[in-house]
């Protein structure tokens, strides 16, 4: 494509330099986490460890394992429920439109842009009132509710690609709202569910504001516990980096194996047609 002789090597050089920028934190994270504490000094920061020492992983795992488990208990039901709710809403808002449906949809969408600080005080009062404050089910509930806009958007756009004629002919054959969903929409929405589930899984796993305000100590999800590691007086950077890697592992694995769907989720809404 580029014509001059130096252009292609220059492009590769640029790609390489940018890759170094993006991988630098990973290098530091991995090497630091494998160092024994006495090598984690400021001067040796960029050096490779002299021996590989897994002990910081053991320490980090000991400290974070309960919170890791909390996150799993949170993210699995929250992802499933919000995907299910989103698919139903998307189905109604794309195939059973009524007067004002688009306005209603826009009003729902607004919910995903708000800073959650603006609903946090009443939310916590409410959760205390119904006894869900400082519980994992409380957090599940919160993520399902505030996940409605994004999951509805994704499924609505996804279902818009299914031709209306299919629905019409199913209706002529006597199929109703539920049968059409069950036998036409659901079988066609496996990809939709994968995309939405990956998106919600990643977002809920990584979420911090709700987690830090709605739960305390032993109910806290992984990200709050990770943040607390650095809050202690002496920061053991090797343990800190090992902890960061452990906390990032599930979403990194998802990205590694299902990255295509992750990017699709990202684009599911962002590029205007």
């Amino acid at each position: 494509m580029a014509r001059s002789v130096w252009a292609r090597p220059f492009l590769y050089l640029l790609a390489l330099v940018m890759s170094v920028f993006f991988l630098l934190p990973v290098y530091v994270m991995v090497t630091t986490s494998l160092k024994p504490l006495d090598e984690v000094t400021l001067a040796d920061m960029w050096k490779l460890p002299s021996t590989i020492d897994w002990s910081s992983y053991a320490t980090a795992f000991d400290k974070l394992a309960p919170n890791f488990w909390n996150s799993i208990l949170l993210v699995v039901p929250a992802t499933l429920l919000s995907a299910l709710l989103g698919s139903l809403n998307g189905y109604v808002l794309s195939k059973w439109k009524f007067k004002g449906a688009d306005t209603l949809f826009t009003l729902i969408l607004f919910g995903m842009f708000i800073p959650y600080q603006s609903i946090l005080i009443p939310l916590i009062q409410f959760l205390r009132e119904i006894g869900l404050y400082n519980t994992i089910p409380g957090l599940v509930f919160v993520h399902v509710v505030y996940g409605i806009p994004i999951t509805t958007l994704m499924f609505r756009n996804f279902y818009a690609a299914i031709p209306d004629e299919m629905i019409e002919s199913a209706k002529i054959d006597g199929a109703g709202f539920i049968r059409i969903f069950r036998y036409i929409m659901l079988p066609l929405s496996i990809t939709g569910f994968v995309v939405v589930a990956i998106w919600q899984f990643t977002n809920i796993w990584n979420e911090f504001l709700f987690a830090v305000t709605i739960t305390t100590s032993d109910k806290q999800p992984i990200m709050v516990a990770l943040q607390n590691l650095s809050g202690s007086q002496i920061v053991q950077w090797n343990v800190q980096m090992a902890g960061a890697l452990l906390a990032a592992l599930p979403t990194l694995l998802v990205y590694t194996f299902l990255g295509k769907y992750f990017v699709r989720g990202l684009l599911a809404g962002s590029v205007k047609g």
Binding site: A43, D102, P115, N157, Y255, L266
Partner: protein, 324 residues
């Protein structure tokens, strides 16, 4: 972490009113409405209702552990706008947002065009640019806190250049002049946070621009080349203008992320000395949940909401109109 929006695809199918009008409102329509109803109720209660409630708290005297619902008028807002910390927050948010969005757009376009050059190992490069998006802001904050550690980190490389910055502990304000109670300008410490945020979010813009580039038909490029345009002219004069609608989306999405940013800064630097890296999100959290100044916290939250709404509401309305 991030959210995206577009209302367009589904809207496109709505352009056939002639057939639609004839449809009867059947029992199935009631069923459809019944399935949608719970979500609608939840959104109206938990989004709009709670925003109203927060607005009410922001006008009350509830600045201790015990709720006090007596009416305070705009007292809490007046307090905030005369408050050193909040003025610093406004400066920091403005500087952070501008630098962050500018960097993400420039880098996003550059890398997307780079990935569009059919390089060998393209998918490897793409994954390298994208993977930080899968990480939590907390993880990013923890790692970059270590990288920008003033006595080490990147400074070990910069020392020979005599560029030994104190990074996020630096209280210098570049180009400062007096404004209210604060020194207005670019806090050096914010730059460190911007770098971390750009590192995490650039992939998002790259993905969007790349999708946009792939949507441009090859004929456009061929025609330009036939007319004798150089590669540079092709991109500068033809491709980049075609990507402008994507830039609008990128700006909206990045602006709403940056205006409500909390976790990255909380994990990486906290408020900082002289509040050089403080933002409304951090202030709201600390004053409400650590200091029990609920009415003040609610007022901060409402200011945050309004700043986001300035971007989002026109965008949502124009998307609605553009589609139908």
């Amino acid at each position: 972490m991030v959210e995206t929006v577009s209302i367009t695809p589904a809207e496109k199918t709505a352009g056939v009113p002639a057939v639609r009008k004839k449809r009867k409102w059947t029992a199935d329509h009631w069923l459809a409405a019944a399935f949608l109803a719970p979500s609608v109720v939840l959104i109206f209660l938990f989004v709009y209702g709670f925003i109203g409630w927060t607005g009410y708290v922001s006008l009350s005297n509830w600045n201790s552990l015990v709720p006090d619902w007596s009416f305070a008028g705009l007292k809490n807002y007046l307090y905030l706008f005369h408050d050193f910390r909040f003025q610093a927050d406004l400066r920091n948010t403005l500087v952070f947002t501008v630098l962050f969005i500018a960097a993400v757009i420039v880098l996003g376009q550059l890398l997307a065009i780079l990935l569009d050059q059919k390089l060998r190992g393209e998918s490897l490069f793409r994954n390298i640019f994208f993977f930080p998006m899968a990480l939590s802001f907390v993880v990013t904050g923890v790692v970059w806190q270590w990288l920008f550690n003033p006595s080490t980190g990147v400074n070990l490389f910069l020392k020979p250049l005599d560029l030994d910055s104190k990074w996020y502990t630096d209280t210098t304000i570049l180009g400062g002049f007096h404004w209210g109670k604060i020194e207005f300008g670019i806090p050096v410490a914010i730059i460190a946070v911007v770098v971390a945020a750009v590192w995490q979010m650039t992939g998002f813009a790259v993905a969007m621009y790349l999708a946009g580039l792939r949507a441009i038909p090859d004929e456009v490029r061929e025609a330009a080349r036939m007319d004798g345009a150089t590669e540079f002219q092709l991109y500068w004069k033809i491709i980049l203008p075609l990507l402008r609608p994507i830039t609008v989306s990128v700006i909206i999405i990045m602006a709403h992320i940056s205006l409500k940013i909390f976790d990255l800064i909380y994990a990486m630097t906290g408020p900082g000395a002289n509040f050089v890296t403080d933002v409304p999100g951090v202030y709201m959290f600390e004053t409400t949940f650590r200091g029990n100044y609920y009415a003040n916290g609610a007022a901060i939250a409402i200011v945050m909401l309004l700043s986001v709404a300035i971007f989002i509401v026109p965008y949502l309305i124009s998307s609605r109109k553009g589609g139908s």
